[in-house]
Every structure is written in C-alpha cells, then in structure tokens.
C-alpha cells in the first residue's frame, strides 16, 4: 500500500509541475466540440440530437492525447526500469500510475462535459446521468489507454499506433455511455447501461493492471 501511495503521490506531483501539458487535451476537447456546430450549422433540435455522440467521441479522442505521458517519460529517464526492479509489485505500481493519470487527465475532462452539454442545448435533467456514465467509463478507458501505452513503450514513436490499438476497444463504452445519456434525455431510467459500464470498470480495474504490468515488462526488454 505504501508503494501505491508513493507512486501515486509522485505522479501527481510531476503532473502538477507540468500543469500546462494537462490543459492540452481539455483545449482540444473544447475546440472539437465547438467545430461540430460550425460544420453542421444545425437547428437547436438537431444540435440536441447529435450532442451526446459528439461529446462522447470528442472526450474519447482528447483522452488519447495525454497517454504518452503515462509510461513514455518514465521509460525515457530510466524510472520505469527502476520501478520494475523495485520490490514493489508492478501491478500495484501500474495501478497507482493509472489512477494518478486518470485523476489529472480524465477527471477535468469529465467536469467539462456537462458544461459543454449545456451549450449543446441538452436538457439539464440528463446532465447528472451523463456525468455518471462518464465517471463509470473512466476506469475502463484509463486501463485501455494504459495498455496501449504499455504495449508501445518500446517503440520510438508510439503515439499514433496507440490510437489504432485503443479506439476500437472503446466501442462498448461508447455504446453504453451514449445509450444511458439518451435514455435519460427521453425521461427513461438509464440503470441498465450504467450497470454495464460499472461491470466493465470492475473487470478492467481487476484484470487490467496484470496485463499492463506484463506489457511494460515485455516492452522494456
């Protein structure tokens, strides 16, 4: 547990000392979300209809922008080798890194989504559901991103490949996430898709770190 705390605290500290990099995905998200109405010139009703999908896809794409920082910088300065060699179990280390990464990159993004949803004229009654769906999708998404980052850690320029690896996996998140939001916009209970997202999160968090740790090990060899 002390290892988890040590790695988590260190990654947060490093992230906050480089806070300007944290803002890039957020700004990217805002720009993408602003571009859609310009390209479609929709009516208010149309805007509301495409809103859910646009926000989810934009959030997924922006979350990919930050993944290089997850293992790449540790691999470049030799820290990753030391993390592997240290007596702290790698699965715990990986879990701490993924949690810290999710906290500084995904959480701000999730906070932005309801604000932009409001500008897409979506009913405010659906916003809590949308935020909840994003929160439930975040752990799974983090694990997918970390898996992609870990698999490409040995490559010089892994960035674009990670997108190709990770984006197809996000299908279920997108389906259940947008479904939950749409249901609550139409005034129906969104429980079922939310439960699916929660189940995926439990699965990803319990199995993901083992796979990520193995991928890091192979990547450094």
């Amino acid at each position: 547990m002390s290892a988890f705390h040590a790695v988590f605290a260190r990654d947060l500290r490093v992230a906050f000392r480089r806070w300007s990099e944290l803002a890039h995905p957020l700004i990217f998200f805002l720009i993408v979300v602003a571009l859609f109405p310009l390209a479609l010139s929709p009516t208010t009703q149309q805007l509301r209809e495409v809103g859910t999908g646009v926000l989810w896809v934009a959030a997924l794409l922006s979350s990919l922008l930050s993944l290089d920082g997850l293992f790449r910088s540790d691999a470049d300065d030799g820290s990753l080798e030391q993390l592997l060699l240290s007596p702290a179990p790698m699965t715990i280390t990986v879990l701490a890194k993924v949690a810290a990464h999710a906290l500084v990159t995904l959480l701000p993004l999730i906070c932005l989504v309801p604000v932009t949803a409001w500008s897409y004229n979506m009913p405010s009654a659906a916003l809590p559901t949308m935020a909840l769906a994003l929160l439930l999708a975040a752990p799974t998404l983090s694990v997918f991103i970390a898996l992609g980052a870990a698999l490409t850690v040995g490559l010089r320029r892994g960035g674009s490949i990670v997108g190709l690896l990770v984006l197809p996996l996000t299908g279920p998140l997108l389906i259940f996430g947008t479904r939950a939001t749409d249901l609550s916009i139409n005034g129906e209970p969104p429980t079922a898709p939310l439960l699916f997202l929660a189940a995926l999160a439990v699965l990803a968090v319990s199995l993901g770190p083992v796979a990520i740790a193995a991928a890091v090990k192979v990547g450094l060899e």
């Binding site: 705390h5 490093v14 300065d77 030799g78 080798e81 592997l84 060699l85 007596p87």
Partner: protein, 206 residues
C-alpha cells in the same frame, strides 16, 4: 566460494541476429566478491548487466539469484538487487530530495539520506530540481539511490561516467566497503584498475 555462490550464470549466450555478443559464459559470485566487467564498446557489458538484473533475457542459458531465475524473483527478493544503468532514473521536475524520498519509499526504506547527500557533496543541491543538475551531479544522485537501496547485489553500468576524481574515489570506496561488508558487486567499467582488489573476478567480453 562456489558453495556459497548467490549469483550464478550458466552457459549464457546472447545473439543479435547473426552476430554473437558472447557465449558459454559461466560465473559464480558469492558474498564479498567483486566482479569487473570489461570489454570494448559494443561488447555486451550493458546487455549482460541487464540480464543479471532480470530486465532482459539471454538467448540461451540463465542467471539465478539464490537459486531463483533473476527475471522471476519474488518482489521481496528483488530488494536484494540494485541496478544503476546509464539512465539515472531522476524525474526532472522533482527536486533531488523528492527523487530520493520516492526511491527510498519504493524500496521500503525510511533511511535519512542527509548523511549520504553530505558525503556526495549534494547537500546544497538537495532542493534543486533535477533538470538543473549537471551530468556529474545527476550521476551522484544515482549513486545516492544505490547507497540507500540497501541491496546486497550491486549491478553498476559504467558508474564513473561524468564523475570527477573525488566522486570516483568515493564510489570506489563505497564499492569496496560494500563488498567487504558481505555484499556482491558487478561493475562494468573501462578503468578496471580503479576498482581492482585482490580476488576480484574479471569477466572479459570480446
């Protein structure tokens, strides 16, 4: 000495495609032994050290620490091994003290490192960000991490790089002290004379 050997290498061979870095390499290292790894650039010193640390696998053969393959060591046994490579493993945005504190907590050590910093003449740099350190200072921090790891087996890859003569002398003294105190050290170096002690094992790579 062979009976008490902790680190054993058996029939180690590494091939890079058609090119053989080394083969048929055997060694046994026990407490109070120093091994010096010498050979020209590209002869496989770093590769061998990474294999000893369990970071890489040889093409054939194997390395064991206390009878267990090094790349399959249980987490608590990994505390026995400290590897310091070409990269110092410093986070550029953290201060020297923060870097060391992180390293110590990862190794489960509560050690006060003020004394180590003073010995390395890093006490004034303790609150500098690692990005502002010189190459020699970075190397000194790396040695501080080695010192506070408390590991039994030291694997050092050209540890004198960028160090001034005073730093080199300190490192040699530490290594001798470590070995005399029952530790094992494997040092890849281009200046074996600096480290040489009686009974040091020379591993020469072609």
């Amino acid at each position: 000495m062979t009976d008490g050997a902790l680190l054993r290498g058996r029939e180690l061979a590494v091939w890079r495609g058609e090119h053989c870095l080394f083969e048929q390499l055997h060694f046994d290292l026990g407490p109070e032994q120093l091994a010096l790894l010498v050979g020209p650039n590209g002869s496989g010193k770093t590769t061998l050290l990474r294999i000893l640390a369990g970071l890489a696998l040889p093409t054939s053969g194997g390395v064991t620490w206390k009878g267990i393959a090094v790349h399959e060591l249980a987490p608590e046994d990994r505390a026995d091994v400290a590897y310091r490579g070409h990269l110092e493993a410093l986070k550029r945005d953290l201060t020297v003290a923060e870097n060391l504190a992180f390293h110590a907590s990862l190794w489960g050590r509560k050690t006060k490192f003020d004394a180590i910093l003073a010995e390395l003449k890093l006490d004034k740099a303790a609150h500098m960000r690692a990005r502002n350190l010189s190459a020699g200072q970075r190397r000194r921090v790396s040695l501080a991490m080695l010192r506070l790891s408390g590991a039994k087996l030291w694997l050092l890859d050209e540890p004198t790089t960028n160090l001034d003569s005073e730093g080199r002398a300190l490192l040699v003294a530490w290594t001798r002290e470590h070995v005399a105190g029952g530790g094992i050290a494997v040092v890849a170096t281009h200046q074996p004379d600096e480290f040489a002690t009686r009974g040091a094992l020379m591993i020469e790579l072609q």
